[in-house]
């Protein structure tokens, strides 16, 4: 099997516009979307730690950025993504034990996850995190 002549024949995932949209597949792709947001969240976390480690001046400079109005929306997006990915991730771990696959359970779990993410983010806003 030579690499040069062997073109990749592995099937692609169907692109997203192929699907008919419902709550279940929307929440499923949201798990990926929020996961990618959280990957950038790690960069935000790393920069914060490095600024703290670099002394008061560096910290003040980063705080000016993180505290600015234009940064609050992405920050809120990271928080919302965190709570969603956390709750939906737990749902995935439950599915891994081959439980919770009834139509009713999937629907109820999906609604619960979305509600949890919204409420937890609202609480974060309410305690003055933004």
């Amino acid at each position: 099997m030579s690499q040069a002549t062997d073109a990749p024949r592995r099937p692609l995932s169907p692109h997203l516009q192929i699907y008919r949209w419902g709550i279940t597949n929307t929440l499923s792709i949201l798990h990926r979307g929020t996961g990618l947001v959280l990957s950038f969240g790690l960069v935000v976390l790393a920069a914060w730690l490095v600024a703290i480690a670099s002394g008061p001046d560096a910290f003040a400079a980063l705080s000016a950025v993180y505290g600015s109005l234009w940064f609050k929306l992405p920050l809120a997006g990271i928080v919302l993504s965190f709570f969603y990915h956390l709750a939906n991730g737990i749902r995935h771990l439950i599915w891994d034990t081959a439980r919770g696959f009834s139509h009713a359970a999937i629907r109820a779990g999906g609604i619960a996850v979305v509600l949890f993410a919204l409420v937890a983010t609202a609480v974060y806003v309410a305690v003055g995190m933004f």
């Binding site: 990749p8 592995r10 692609l12 730690l49 008061p56 991730g89």
Partner: protein
């Protein structure tokens, strides 16, 4: 290493699946801990944050969070690339870029934590 090893060898897929679940389970308490800690901190004070990170439990949990978080993220991005980057060369390049980025973020986190704990900052 053949092309198949990158994407679909059975052994690496099982390891990937298993490591993803292990880090997911670890990230539940670690993530909740950070989310619940942040509102109680004086986020505007560098000195207060340094004092907080110098507490041994904070430094250890932050280090574990950085480790599990970047590893889980690396696995997740790998999955997305497998699904949506059909070209083998492009796939390898993006996977390599992802690796460099994730190692960089992890190194930055660990360096910062160690510098805060042992440094004079």
């Amino acid at each position: 290493m053949s092309k198949a090893d990158d994407r679909s060898s059975r052994k690496s897929t099982v390891v990937h699946w298993w490591h993803q679940r292990l880090t997911a389970v670890a990230l539940i308490p670690l993530g909740l801990w950070l989310a619940l800690s942040l509102p109680g901190l004086d986020l505007g004070s560098q000195a207060a944050l340094v004092a907080w990170i110098r507490e041994p439990m904070t430094a250890i949990l932050l280090g574990l969070l950085a480790l599990a978080g970047t590893y889980h993220s690396w696995l997740g991005v790998h999955e997305v690339l497998v699904d949506y980057v059909p070209d083998a060369a492009q796939f390898r390049v993006t996977l390599l870029l992802s690796l460099v980025a994730h190692v960089g973020v992890l190194a930055a986190c660990l360096y910062a934590i160690l510098r805060i704990v042992f440094g004079a900052a």
